[in-house]
């Protein structure tokens, strides 16, 4: 079989991109990475993701795959014999993984972003409660999925590990910017232990940005952007 040309369009800070890179690393797949400037979208991005114009976009021999969770499943299926599986093999466990991945993105991560976006103490408190409630459920889910092993995926990093894991640096940066604790070792002992395992894995270390860099990004880029949007909207 000929050499397959893999390209990835992404940004250094996006959890959706980070999770794809972790899986590509874990599968030992070589790819060309193109850092995108989302304030000035490239021709490449507009060509390969005309509908959403977002990252990540995986381009496999000129065929684009968009949406991070779709990309993860694509990699798992297209390279099923290479490296560890991303999703479990049992259909029921796969269904659980798919459910919790969407929950992580739509409920937990979004709620944590809401902490940063909140303009009142009341709104902030509401988002903190939401995030913590999500983490509590994930602590329980971790116990069920890991069955005593280090990862949601068992012995190796899997679908839920990369989905939640890719958000960790954001969660930690949110803790620092907002001066609070989310990943509380007393409330979520298993989850916190898991964060250490995940962040120390080789396939992760290479692509995970430093918390300080994300903190700076939140303070210098994101918050001013949100403030400007709020004042300019009717």
């Amino acid at each position: 079989m000929g050499e397959r040309e893999l390209k990835l369009l992404g940004t250094w800070v996006s959890p959706y991109v980070i999770r794809v890179r972790v899986v590509l690393n874990q599968k030992g797949l070589k790819y060309e990475y193109f850092e995108q400037d989302l304030t000035n979208k490239s021709e490449l991005l507009l060509k390969y993701n005309p509908i959403h114009k977002k990252v990540p976009v995986l381009i496999d021999n000129d065929q684009p795959v968009c949406e991070s969770l779709v990309i993860l499943q694509y990699i798992d299926e297209a390279w099923s014999k290479t490296g560890p599986s991303v999703l479990p093999t049992d259909p029921y466990e796969r269904a659980m993984a798919r459910f919790w991945a969407v929950y992580i993105d739509d409920k937990v991560f979004l709620a944590s972003a809401g902490i940063l976006k909140a303009t009142t103490e009341e709104a902030k408190a509401e988002k903190i409660i939401e995030t913590m409630a999500g983490l509590e459920l994930l602590e329980e889910t971790f116990k069920k999925c890991s069955k005593g092993k280090p990862f949601f995926g068992g012995d190796t990093i899997g679908f839920l590990d990369v989905t939640l894991g890719s958000c960790l640096v954001w969660l930690k940066a949110t803790e620092k910017v907002s001066e609070l604790t989310l990943l509380d070792g007393n409330k979520f002992p298993k989850l916190v232990k898991w964060t250490e395992q995940f962040l120390s894995a080789d396939c992760v270390k290479e692509v995970m940005p430093k918390v300080e860099k994300v903190e700076e990004y939140i303070n210098k880029t994101l918050k001013p952007k949100w403030a400007a949007a709020a004042t300019s909207s009717k």
């Binding site: 509908i51 496999d60 065929q63 795959v65 968009c66 949406e67 969770l69 779709v70 990309i71 499943q73 694509y74 299926e77 297209a78 259909p91 029921y92 796969r94 269904a95 798919r98 459910f99 969407v102 929950y103 459920l137």
Partner: protein, 227 residues
């Protein structure tokens, strides 16, 4: 074929998410028990099987619950793996999943704004819907169904737009689907609704329009009462 299989589906007669699961089960010839839920007075079974979202559909297979219609569809396809609903090729599967997220997140949000919204919000919703319909229209050019000559996963997933979007347009008094702007999409609606699987598996239209009309009124009241 999965021997000694007990399949139950908790649903609600007007819900498109429930119907897409029913379509999948019937396409595969899977026998199941259907339980109608009163969503204003949820059963203890539903709350037990779906404590997180407390919503339908819930598929219970041999006592184990699976929730979220897209997750359920993939579970059905993987568990009863003859007559596949999803494409076999991994790139085609990725495209199918992409469209699923597109219609369930983007199109649904635009439809919601068009239906419940007023003034600028409604206009914005309709405008977005039209952009999305254009994308779907382009995807359908030269094809009878998204999957080719017969119905597949993408058709089942976009299916709500063949019936419920029309219902929402009527009940919400707006128009987005246009046969001259979106000829392939309009043709697909016809093909989809005429397919024997779908034709005999839809809720009654008048009853559904009335239900959505009331739903819209309740939505406006709720908005008026909030803050």
């Amino acid at each position: 074929m999965v021997p000694n299989s007990e399949v139950r589906l908790f649903g609600m007669w007007a819900s498109p998410a429930v119907w897409r699961v029913e379509w999948a089960l019937k396409m595969k010839g899977i026998e199941f028990e259907y339980i109608e839920e009163d969503v204003s007075d949820k059963s203890s079974s539903l709350l037990m099987y779906n404590p997180i979202n407390k919503q339908v559909p819930v598929l219970v297979h041999n006592g184990k619950p699976i929730v979220e219609s897209l997750v359920i569809l993939e579970y059905i396809d993987e568990t009863w793996n003859d007559k596949p609903i999803l494409p076999v090729d991994s790139y085609e599967r990725a495209k199918a999943r992409f469209w699923a997220t597109f219609v369930d997140v983007k199109c649904r949000e635009a439809a919601r704004k068009s239906f419940f919204g007023e003034g600028e919000e409604r206009e914005n919703g309709i405008e977005n819907l039209e952009i999305q319909l254009k994308a779907l229209d382009e995807e359908l050019e030269g094809k009878k169904f998204f999957a080719g000559n017969s119905i597949g996963y993408t058709d089942l997933v976009v299916g709500w737009m063949a019936f419920w979007l029309g219902v929402a347009e009527e009940a919400g008094d707006f128009k987005a689907v246009n046969s001259s702007k979106f000829p392939f999409f309009t043709a697909w609606i016809e093909n989809f609704l005429q397919d024997p699987l779908i034709k005999n598996n839809l809720p009654p239209r008048d009853k559904t329009v009335e239900f959505f009309r009331l739903f819209r009124q309740a939505g406006s009241c709720a908005k008026a009462n909030v803050k």
